[in-house]
């Protein structure tokens, strides 16, 4: 059971100003209910696996500067800093 409050809370964490909560609550609620099927999969004993790589294949520790002046292609202020809203 997902409540409107929970949706609002999660939207806050995900930093999205969800205006029309009702619209999302219903659809997200249905999606989460659908996921309940996972409970009957009987997979408690399974382990989470992942591929591995030997240390020797990793990148060499070398300084290689990026050729272009990247900051000029991004949003910036005073030509050098990136501007962000004030922090409280």
């Amino acid at each position: 059971m997902v409540t409107e409050e929970e949706i609002e809370q999660v939207a806050k964490f995900m930093k999205i100003d969800v205006h029309n909560h009702k619209e999302y609550v219903e659809k997200v609620h249905n999606m989460i209910d659908f996921f309940d099927i996972l409970d009957s999969a009987g997979v408690e004993e399974e382990e989470v696996t992942m591929n591995d790589l030997p240390l020797s294949t990793l990148r060499e520790d070398k300084h290689i500067p990026f050729e272009d002046k990247l900051i000029e292609k991004l949003k910036n202020f005073k030509g050098t800093y990136v501007r962000a809203p004030k922090m409280i």
Partner: protein
């Protein structure tokens, strides 16, 4: 029962490049946002490229702290939003699926006190924020991403510290160790930072964040202990919370707790497979590990008979111990140790001084040998050292240029003694009856010779003269 634990962040400044890209690891000389690339800026479509040496150095640290090293290490995402975090998640390490961070369950001795190391993890540093604007309306945050992606090792301790003094000692031991290991230069600004957690009398644990220097760390811990003790004495319960260190007012402030209820949604970083740290590679690393400080100290004491306190200073400082190890032999070891820990100290105690210094190990060898052979007095040697550090010239050149050579020629010395006795007739009379007064005359001879007279010989000759 006071319990203090630490979370230390140490930049791997000895690396050439960042943790996941080839930008410079040491960003300090760069203009804002000039040490960046698509990867550390988290541009769409970019992927992290793990730095092999960073894993090696982190493993070295884990070994030096006596941790157990896992066979495979994994990286995780810590998800939260902040302007200094280009991807709005940090790639870090955790141990939620077994032991997957670079090291764990280690130990460091602080005197007799055992401090347990919970874990060591490799992670990336965020960028830096600058606040601009005075009024609430025009306030803006400026972000510099030069530092974003710099390799960090986070060292987490158990709350084994009982007082701030232990913390201070531990931090010195740790920074010397990290420097000795050649993984980091702790004297660089911002290279080592620490957060603390504090609890008293079995009460709630309070985390203190936003501490910018080790000096502040001690202050913050002191303040927090006082604050908690004060609450405790009034039987007010201590809240379980995170507090921020306010650098200006020198107090800890409670962070707005609702905002702090962050859920990091940790999960495995899918762009980096598990990395195998094979046993034979670990052995190789171990064999290549620089000699530990403790081992050096022991060597200095047992092999060369250097006094413990001197050996302490010598071994715990990488610059000094390297100089010592390169310049000494069986005979002059003690003398060199002495020169380093007395005369050199004032001339080479900061990073800037060391960078400008022209001194090398062969200078020290020459200096010590000259003192031991009697060619130079200790006093002259001090002056010579100053010149060497400034100019880097050969000792022999400096001795002749500055006329520092010992006046040990009896004939020359006698002449000077005659002069002094002629000038100090009253002292001469006194010296005949009062042996202490001879020292005054020795002093005058030293003055006349600008410290170059051999004090022992001078004393002998004076005694003879006085009969």
């Amino acid at each position: 029962m006071t319990k203090i634990g630490l979370e230390i962040h140490c930049q791997l400044t000895k690396l050439e490049s960042k943790l996941f890209c080839s930008c410079k690891a040491n960003y300090r000389e760069n203009e804002p946002n000039t040490n960046i690339c698509p990867i550390c800026m988290g541009l769409p479509g970019t992927l992290p490229r793990l730095n092999q040496k960073a894993v090696e150095k982190a493993t070295l640290i884990a070994m030096a702290l006596n941790c157990s090293i896992p066979e495979k290490i994994a990286f995780f995402r810590k998800n939260y939003f902040y302007p200094d975090l280009p991807k709005n998640f940090q790639i870090t390490q955790l141990n939620i699926y077994g032991d997957t961070s670079v090291g764990g369950r280690g130990v460091i001795m602080v005197g007799d006190k055992k401090i347990r190391i919970t874990r060591i993890q490799l992670e990336e540093d965020p960028g830096r924020l600058i606040y601009e604007g005075t009024s609430s309306k025009n306030q803006i945050t400026l972000v510099d991403y030069n530092r974003a992606g710099t390799p960090l090792v986070e060292i987490v301790t158990e709350p084994d510290f009982e007082n701030p003094k232990q913390v201070r000692e531990f931090l010195k031991i740790l920074s010397d160790l990290l420097e000795n290991l050649n993984v980091s230069d702790p004297s660089l600004e911002g290279a080592m930072r620490a957060d603390a957690n504090v609890s008293i009398e079995g009460g709630n644990k309070v985390e203190i964040k936003n501490i910018n220097s080790f000096h502040d760390l001690e202050k913050a811990i002191h303040f927090e202990l006082t604050r908690q003790e004060s609450l405790h004495s009034r039987e007010i319960p201590i809240a379980l919370e995170t507090r921020h260190w306010d650098d200006k007012r020198k107090i800890t402030i409670s962070s707005r707790s609702k905002e702090e209820e962050l859920d990091y949604r940790y999960f495995l970083e899918g762009d980096i497979p598990l990395i195998k740290i094979e046993k034979d590679f670990q052995e190789k690393l171990k064999s290549e590990m620089p000699e530990s400080i403790l081992s050096k100290k022991e060597r200095y004491v047992t092999k060369y008979g250097i006094p413990e306190q001197v050996a302490d200073v010598l071994s715990s400082d990488k610059y000094y111990s390297e100089l010592f190890d390169k310049s000494h032999n069986k005979n002059n070891a003690k003398e060199i140790a002495n020169i380093i820990t007395t005369d050199l100290m004032g001339l080479a105690d900061t990073r800037e001084k060391r960078e400008l210094s022209k001194l090398n190990s062969s200078h020290l060898t020459d200096l010590a040998d000259s003192i031991l052979s009697g060619k130079l007095t200790r006093n002259s040697a001090k002056n010579a050292l100053y010149e060497i550090v400034k100019t880097g010239k050969e000792l022999s050149k400096i001795i002749s240029e500055l006329d520092l050579g010992n006046v040990s020629n009896e004939k020359d010395l006698l002449q000077i003694i005659q002069q002094v006795l002629a000038e100090e007739s009253q002292a001469l009379e006194e010296a005949k009856s009062n042996p202490q007064a001879i020292n005054f005359l020795v002093g005058k001879v030293m003055q006349k010779t600008k410290g170059k007279a051999d004090p022992k010989l001078t004393l002998e000759l004076l005694k003879t003269k006085l009969g």
